[in-house]
């Protein structure tokens, strides 16, 4: 434990220096804000970032963004990114796949990427206006996998704590079936036995297999720890990724248990802490996208899994709660938005229910966070609106439905996906209450000159950036 503390001190020091540098250099003339975008359960991060940038560039559909609606917005443009070692977000490719002649959703992205957008506007605040009539805000959008966010709580967990939690989770439905072979292996090994690389590799492989199965399963389980196991990049088979949770208490030196613990700590130190110090700690604002509808589709088990993942993902924003180490580790993030994406898959009068549902999911953790630091908000949004709400008659009743082209078909359909009750996740006593479908992006987006159509993207932006653009 000695070394990490020194590391933290070093990180905190360099961050402080960096902030001071910001103030002295461009801090007054140009303001920087770093917006983290991440998502659970294939929530559509890529589409979100693409739509956000496109809308900010064209600024034709943002009535709820104050700076635009009050006419103070001048223009925005893409600028070279500030960090040399982070890949660029491939905006043009993603936009092309959405607006091309054969519109399709962009490929899912792996790893971290970044894009810098500069916004020019006339400040509203008197002091700012006197200093400079036209201000520039550099918006750095940092897109990273949701699993990395879920890795952050590991920093506070020891190997034995984490093992206990993971094993408990793996034994419960719907995960118990997926984890069968890995748990079978666990039953045969003795954690106290001398460490064998072969055993460790086998355990890690089975555990990784289980994580992959979780991600692939139709329940789309969101809680995947450690995140790099499923997206190893060039670290595949490195000792860093060759461990897995083990039952029982701490064992002696040289045992399998000790080997796994060492690697767990190394994973934390190198990957999790690295991500934290280099990226997460520098963020100013964060949006977490969640595919709530997908979880509803998969039933109560999928929902409870997502609730757990959400609680974990809120953990990193809970700063200042436990002592000085946290203070050093603390983020500057002061606003967090949890957004239920794909709101266009339900009729518009259901948006409120969707939002209430998300509210319930994060409510416990949220009150704590409000009290301690960051402001937390929830919304139901759609980065790219691909359906419209229509009314259709069924057995003499008017039903509000959505109309769009489902993926894999070429003609539009009208879908009644089922209604979310106001105060519960599922209507009581129904077998398959929901059928939310995936729709294709709308055709001829290329002619769109005002920006991609969306639902409440402007309100999300207002919450995340509104105070910077005053």
């Amino acid at each position: 434990m000695r070394l990490p503390i020194i590391n933290d001190l070093y990180d905190a020091g360099s961050r402080l220096l960096g902030r001071a540098g910001d103030l002295v250099s461009g801090g007054i003339l140009e303001q920087d804000v770093r917006l983290g975008v991440t998502g659970l359960r294939r929530a559509g991060k890529t589409v979100f970032v693409t739509a956000l940038v496109d809308n900010l560039l064209k600024a034709g559909r943002l009535p709820f963004l104050d700076v635009v609606s009050s006419g103070r917005f001048q223009a925005s443009r893409l600028r070279p990114q500030p960090d040399p070692d982070v890949p660029r977000f491939e905006l043009e490719d993603h936009l092309a796949s959405l607006t091309g002649p054969d519109p399709h959703w962009p490929e899912r992205t792996r790893g971290i990427s970044q894009l810098r957008l500069s916004l020019r506007y006339r400040p509203n605040a008197v002091l700012k206006r006197t200093i400079q009539p036209v201000a520039t805000l550099n918006l750095d959008i940092i897109d990273y996998p949701g699993e990395w966010l879920l890795d952050l709580p590991l920093l506070h967990q020891s190997f034995s704590e984490w093992s206990a939690l993971t094993l408990d989770l793996a034994g419960r439905p719907p995960r118990d079936e997926l984890s069968q072979s890995w748990r079978g292996w666990l039953a045969t090994v003795d954690p106290a036995a001398p460490a064998e690389e072969e055993e460790a590799r086998r355990g890690a492989a089975l555990y990784t297999e289980y994580l992959h199965a979780c991600r692939r399963s139709e329940n789309l389980l969101s809680l995947i720890q450690p995140g790099r196991f499923v997206e190893p990049g060039d670290l595949a088979n490195a000792p860093l990724l060759t461990f897995c949770p083990l039952p029982g208490e701490r064992r002696g030196r040289g045992s399998l248990w000790a080997l796994m613990e060492d690697r767990y700590e190394a994973y934390k130190k190198t990957l999790v802490r690295g991500f934290f110090a280099e990226h997460f700690a520098k963020l100013d604002r964060q949006i977490v996208l969640i595919d709530v509808l997908g979880a509803l589709n998969s039933g109560p088990a999928g929902m409870s899994d997502m609730k757990r993942a959400l609680e974990l993902s809120l953990e990193p924003f809970r700063h200042g709660s436990s002592g000085w180490l946290d203070w050093l580790l603390g983020t500057k993030i002061d606003r967090v938005l949890f957004a239920a994406t794909k709101a266009d898959h339900v009729a518009s009068h259901q948006h409120n229910s969707l939002r209430h549902l998300l509210d319930r999911l994060v409510s416990d953790a949220r009150s704590g966070i409000r009290f301690e630091g960051a402001q937390v908000e929830t919304m139901a949004i759609a980065a790219l609106k691909s359906t419209e709400t229509v009314v259709s008659e069924h057995e003499g009743r008017q039903l509000r439905c959505v109309r769009g082209v489902p993926i894999g078909r070429d003609r539009p359909t009208v879908l009644y996906p089922g209604e979310i009750p106001e105060d519960a996740d599922f209507p009581p006593g129904r077998e398959r209450p929901y059928n939310f479908m995936a729709f294709q992006p709308p055709a001829d987006l290329a002619r769109e000159t005002r920006g991609l159509p969306h639902i409440r993207l402007d309100q999300a932006l207002q919450f995340l950036l509104g105070d910077y653009l005053e």
Partner: protein, 334 residues
């Protein structure tokens, strides 16, 4: 509609025939405004009409007497004029016709302006309902429709209304549409109204400070306040007639006295204090500042009463800037 769906038997998720689906219908426009007005009317009546029925009988009786007397007199005038000469008779008859026609036209104008005021009132109630209660979707469209009709033919607002129409999609819920109208259409009006109030309060302050006699500044203040109320009402689309303005002024006085609108006792104290500091510099200047503040309060109350969507906590106009402006006045003049 939706509520009913929710209460009755449950419908499983399914796909339906695309041919039979229609866009979300907008409900009849008049129905809701009429409904809201009818809901609101008893309260309005209770507020505005005198409590005693006897008084109304008295007024009605006297009015009838005057009308009958007028009729007799006019008839007398006719016969005497025709007895003297035909030409004089025709002249008198046409004078009577013009006077009568003008009176009727004025009456109609007053009635129409009263109706507009009442409509704004009902719009405000409706806006409040749309943004707090969950209503079946589609009602906000109607609200937007009546607001658009209220501002029909206003060249200055046409672009804003057009913009709102462009930006509203089927995904916006009612409270969002109301908020959008508030921001796009009414916010610019608020700024102009605030400038009007600022100008009027500066006028009264200067007039009071410079006027030689108390009677003169009383007249100036009264005239300026009435003009201010009419200006603001016209800006928000109420276009009040004389009766309407008087009515507004009366309700405003009640509001200033009772509710104090946005201002608390604290603010009044600050104003009085600010006034007394100015008074220390110059008595007339102090009076000017106080009169100016009074005008500002009248103007801001008028803004509250004439706005089709009630102010929220974020955009509610405050006396702050006006106060600052007025308190710097002595320095400017001296």
């Amino acid at each position: 509609m939706t509520e009913r769906t929710r209460d009755s038997a449950w419908v499983p998720p399914m796909e339906l025939d695309p041919e039979r689906a229609v866009p979300v219908p907008a409900v009849e426009e008049e129905a809701i405004i009429a409904g809201a007005a009818a809901e609101r009317l008893p309260v309005l009546l209770a507020e505005d009409r005198p409590k005693s029925r006897l008084g109304r009988w008295l007024v009605g009786g006297i009015a009838a007497l005057v009308l009958v007397a007028l009729g007799f007199d006019t008839w007398d005038l006719f016969t005497r004029a025709f007895a003297t000469s035909i030409a004089l008779g025709v002249l008198v008859a046409s004078a009577v016709a013009v006077a009568g026609g003008a009176a009727v036209a004025m009456l109609l104008g007053e009635l129409r302006s009263l109706r507009r005021l009442r409509k704004i009132e009902s719009l405000r109630v409706e806006a409040e309902r749309l943004s707090t209660v969950e209503t079946p979707a589609g009602e906000a469209d109607r609200f937007a429709g009546s607001l658009t009709r209220l501002y029909d033919g206003r060249a200055d607002l046409a672009p804003a209304l057009e913009r709102v129409k462009d930006q509203v999609t089927d995904a916006h819920d009612d409270s969002e549409i109301v908020r959008l109208l508030d921001r796009e259409v009414l916010a610019p009006l608020d700024r102009r109204a605030y400038q009007t109030v600022l100008r009027a309060s500066r006028d009264t302050a200067v007039a009071t400070a410079l006027s030689p006699a108390a009677v003169v500044d009383l007249a100036v203040v009264l005239w300026r306040n009435l003009k201010l109320v009419r200006e603001i009402a016209a800006l928000y689309g109420a276009r009040p007639g004389y009766v309407g303005s008087l009515k507004l002024l009366r309700r405003m006085l009640a509001n200033i006295a009772v509710a104090g609108v946005a201002e608390s006792a604290h603010h009044v104290a600050v104003e009085a204090l600010g006034g007394s500091i100015a008074a220390a510099i110059s008595t007339r200047m102090g009076q000017g500042v106080i009169n100016g503040l009074l005008t500002a309060r009248v103007g801001i109350t008028a803004m509250h009463l004439c706005r089709p969507i009630a102010f929220g906590p974020a955009n509610r106009p405050s006396l702050g800037q006006i106060r600052k402006e007025l308190l710097s006045l002595p320095k400017q003049v001296l």
